[in-house]
């Protein structure tokens, strides 16, 4: 019996119960309000629907809380109870091994997979199912009780002058606040976990060695000098910005100052499509088209230089993957970030300033160059900073086209590696969380987070200051 209860599909059941209790409560509440309306003289404070929402709120909220608590704590509670009951032969297992054993129990529970297994496993699985049955029954009972109580209690409060609408409005506000809170809590959680793992890493490797060391070989030699990664990241971001800043800015100027509304209606969406292309597509474009072309040009350059007798050996590295290839393609990728934001800030420059310049006999290009762009400059700088932080954090293009050699080289045709590439290669494949190799990925992530955070904060501040000026 308990074992069968243990096999209840609790997820679906909880959702169904919430829906059933919620709608029942709503209709009951509304009915009660309508009765009140008939028997009372004069107007009610709130419409019957609000009374319905009120009752539903006080029924659903406790039920949802129970469901959430079940989702978070039930499994752990069952496992800890099960662990206590395990035979002593399990004492020699490490916590990790124990967890993976319990996980296999959970997977096997209630399926045919137990029939061929040994007796101990069968017994443990059955016991697990029993425990789950108890847990499920208790949860459902508690839930039903709370829901019934909620309906009963909140129904009784309804009256002609009861301010159900105000309560519901406050409830809505709380729901919206909680939704906003989820994003903030998630960010905080990510930061905390980054910090925690990074601190563990910095117990093995000193911060100073990590930030200033010039040799990176995390995979084999446990060398954690991240300077070549920082160098590669900034080199590629620099190349990207050299592409994106002028092209993005000029296209923004064209769009906002020169293009006819018709042309603007065409070009702007196309530019914004660039932002919608998955970065992995940019990645293989970089790897298959741009990188070979750059290599070819570099080879040709080397040969010509040697032929002309200007050098005795090749000058450029001419490697099959290169910083230049990744940087160029990344630059194309961030163009829409620059152009779209710059376009917005240029449009925000008041028309009266342009009129003033035209009325003085300034030409269009003089007006743009000397009045519009200087007035929009803070916003343009902010757009560029946001694009930089996007370029620094970009992963897929560099994973595919930048290469994996951690080195400091000014030659853009040599392959470089970046922070993001190293994080990917450290976190894929076999990983253990007590290994400095894996932990170093968190330290890299922390650096990345801090750098992009600084860029974003500065950019947003600049934008804000600029907005205040014209609004």
């Amino acid at each position: 019996m308990l074992q069968q209860l243990g096999q209840l599909p609790m997820g679906w059941l909880l959702i169904a119960l919430i829906a059933v209790f919620g709608s029942a409560a709503f209709f009951l509440g509304r009915m009660r309000a309508e009765q009140l309306l008939e028997t009372s003289t004069g107007r009610m404070h709130s419409r019957p629907n609000y009374h319905g929402y009120y009752v539903a709120m006080f029924t659903v909220v406790p039920v949802v809380l129970i469901a959430v608590a079940y989702a978070i704590f039930a499994e752990d509670l069952m496992r800890s109870q099960l662990t206590r009951e395990l035979p002593s032969s399990f004492d020699r297992l490490s916590p990790a091994e124990l967890q993976s054993y319990l996980e296999s129990v959970r997977m096997a529970a209630g399926t045919a997979a137990t029939s061929g297994a040994d007796r101990v496993f069968q017994a443990i699985t059955n016991r697990y199912l029993e425990l789950r049955g108890v847990m499920n029954t208790a949860t459902l009972a508690l839930l039903g009780l709370l829901a019934a109580g909620g309906i009963f209690w909140s129904q009784r409060r309804l009256s002609q002058n009861f301010r159900a609408r105000a309560v519901v409005e406050n409830g809505m506000e709380l729901v919206l606040f909680l939704c906003a809170g989820v994003a903030i809590a998630t960010t905080a959680g990510i930061v905390v976990s980054l910090l925690y793992e990074s601190l563990q890493f910095f117990q093995v490797v000193s911060v100073w060695d990590f930030l200033t060391g010039t040799r990176w070989n995390a995979q084999t030699n446990a060398e954690f000098g991240a300077l070549p990664l920082f160098f590669g990241t900034f080199m590629i971001a620099l190349i990207a910005m050299l592409v994106a800043a002028p092209i993005g800015l000029f296209s923004a100027i064209f769009l906002s100052e020169y293009a006819s509304p018709k042309a603007r209606g065409w070009i702007k969406p196309i530019l914004e499509i660039l932002a919608g292309i998955p970065t992995v597509v940019y990645g293989f474009f970089a790897l298959l088209v741009v990188a070979p072309a750059i290599r070819q040009m570099a080879v040709w350059f080397n040969e010509s230089v040697i032929q002309m007798g200007l050098a005795s050996e090749p000058i450029l590295a001419a490697q099959p993957t290169s910083a230049l290839a990744a940087g160029l393609v990344m630059g194309i990728m961030v163009i829409p970030f620059v152009s779209s934001l710059s376009d917005d800030v240029i449009n925000a420059v008041p028309q009266t300033l342009r009129d003033a310049a035209y009325a003085l006999g300034a030409t269009k290009s003089e007006t743009v160059k000397q009045v519009v762009v200087p007035a929009a400059l803070p916003g343009i700088i902010a757009a560029l900073l946001l694009a930089v932080s996007r370029a620094i954090g970009e992963t897929m293009i560099v994973v595919m086209a930048a290469g994996k050699s951690a080195r400091i080289s000014m030659d853009p045709t040599s392959d470089l590696t970046t922070i993001t590439v190293q994080i990917v290669s450290l976190m894929t494949g076999e990983t253990g969380f007590d290994d400095p190799k894996t932990l170093s990925a968190f330290a890299l992530g922390l650096v990345l987070f801090i750098v992009t955070l600084i860029f974003n904060i500065v950019a947003l501040r600049v934008v804000k200051k600029y907005r205040e000026k014209y609004e």
Binding site: T352, D355, A356, L360, G361, A362, V371, P374
Partner: protein, 276 residues
């Protein structure tokens, strides 16, 4: 009021000015059969009028009557508006400024404009004034430019207030000062005509009085056309007044005559406040 009326008698109905001025015989600007279209809509219907030199002409009329649109014809600012089209002849020195071979950039250096809202560039006071002379190459070197800036600010009656802070941003001045800065900026290009589109509508009465005084001083050097919503202002500063209604020029005459003895019923109704 008395002085205004006294001055306006100097201008007779044939738009000639006293013989003391050389160019008195011909009007500074002569508009013939001007029509303005926004897309298919005709906003100005066949307006002909002339603007005398060294005098202030006021354009009055209810909102939307086309007076600002008409004003913007005179320096071809309507070119900057999409789907706006101007027909007719506007003669300056015998040349039609609407001709295809007239460069609007050069035209605008001869016809300055001051706008409704003060619109100084977000640059220093000095650079605001120096902007026009720089783009038109009017100054030979720094000293010359300094002289132009000082002269323009003096003429706009702003020099004493800002001479110690020429490097401060122009946007930091008060509204009235900003508007005088904009007038100085227009003067710095050495225009022949100054157009003013409700230059005092964003200003308080004291700043307005200051600008009106200034307009009266500038009248001795320039042909000034001012659009205004305030009939008192038109009466105070102008010698000629044109009343616009629904895109038509209803009546044009000496300011004293328009305000004391209008020929048209609609003019009378408007200036006595019966509509508009």
């Amino acid at each position: 009021m008395d002085t205004t009326l006294g001055m306006s008698t100097a201008v007779d109905d044939n738009l000639t000015l006293p013989p003391a001025t050389d160019t008195a015989a011909a009007p500074r600007i002569d508009c013939r059969n001007i029509k303005v279209f926004y897309g298919e809509t005709e906003a100005i219907h066949d307006v002909s009028m002339a603007f005398p030199d060294r005098a202030v002409t006021a354009l009055i009329g209810p909102s939307g009557c086309g007076k600002s649109t008409f004003l913007r014809c005179l320096n071809r600012m309507n070119d900057t508006i999409e789907n706006c089209r101007v027909e007719g002849e506007i003669l300056m020195d015998g040349e039609n400024i609407n001709d295809a071979d007239v460069d609007p950039v050069l035209l605008r250096s001869r016809v300055g404009m001051v706008f409704q809202k003060p619109n100084p560039f977000p640059k220093s006071i000095y650079d605001n004034i120096a902007y026009g002379p720089r783009i038109h190459g009017l100054a030979n070197g720094r000293e010359d430019l300094d002289a132009i800036v000082e002269k323009s600010l003096r003429r706009a009656g702003l020099w004493d207030e800002v001479k110690d802070r020429l490097a401060a941003p122009g946007t930091g001045l008060s509204g009235g000062q900003q508007q005088r800065l904009c007038i100085a900026r227009a003067i710095a290009v050495q225009p022949e005509v100054i157009l003013m589109d409700e230059p005092c509508s964003a200003l308080d009465p004291i700043a307005t009085a200051r600008i009106e005084e200034l307009i009266d001083e500038l009248r001795n050097r320039y042909c000034i056309v001012i659009v205004t919503h305030s009939m008192q202002q038109a009466a105070r500063v102008s010698q000629r007044t044109a009343f616009f209604h629904l895109g038509n020029l209803v009546e044009l005459g000496d300011t004293s005559q328009i305000f004391t003895n209008p020929r048209e019923k609609r003019t009378e109704d408007y200036i006595t406040g019966r509509f508009g």
